[in-house]
Symmetry: C2
């Protein structure tokens, strides 16, 4: 049971931008790619997706880059994970087109796993991006290891 | 975010056996394979694993088959999922050998995702195999759809 790499990287992009709020120069994809060792092309797709969702603003050219459009304290982790994870089908019977389980009609498993997933997301709903990253004191990104 | 097929099928084997407790003839792998449309060889590996864990007894030959060694009410769903899911590394930084994230040192994400996972498993800990399946009134397996 794990989150997808897409969700993992999305969270890192958002956290990097959140940690850099207040900086004069916006964050760049190149900078995040270098900092995390993730390919630029992979990050570009993620940034495009985040821009389409209204979470990031991207500006081109000299002095351009990425900027959070929403305050970090207003982006709940549960909202991000719900948006990015397309497959919450914990077991086969969650997907009626694939389900071959013949116990489905009288089994409580699906309901219980749904309840557990909601509990998982409930924890993430209570945490915002601002809770995850250190406060940027001087507008610089946090020191990296 | 989903459980592995191994966990899915393991739960079905246990539930099938739980629903059939009290039957004169023990459940067979062939029967479960036919009922769920899962390959016998796949189920055989799962049954061997469950027998090694002391949850199932397997007997060979005529009249042989599978039988739960533990009462269904004493097998918590959380215990089964914990035993079967080998990968609770929600994101890259959970695995120190793979971790390339340079925010790790000062990021709360790992702790929050751990907390969410514990909440997920906590829901499953409160449910037993007996809660999942209909009571077998006459020792026959439940009617299938």
């Amino acid at each position: 049971m794990r989150l997808t790499q897409w969700t993992d990287y999305t969270l890192r992009v958002l956290m990097y931008c959140a940690a850099s709020q207040g900086r004069v120069q916006p964050v760049t994809i190149t900078e995040i790619a270098a900092s995390h060792g993730i390919s630029r092309s992979h990050l570009t797709k993620i940034v495009q997706d985040l821009a389409a969702r209204g979470w990031l603003e991207t500006t081109r050219g000299r002095g351009g880059g990425l900027r959070l459009l929403v305050l970090a304290k207003d982006i709940a982790l549960g909202e991000v994970v719900r948006a990015m994870e397309t497959d919450f089908a914990m077991v086969e019977c969650f997907d009626p087109t694939l389900n071959q389980c013949r116990l489905s009609g009288h089994c409580r498993l699906k309901g219980v796993l749904n309840q557990a997933t909601q509990s998982y997301l409930g924890v993430l709903d209570a945490v915002t991006l601002a809770d995850l990253v250190p406060t940027s004191v001087n507008g610089l990104p946090p020191a990296v290891n």
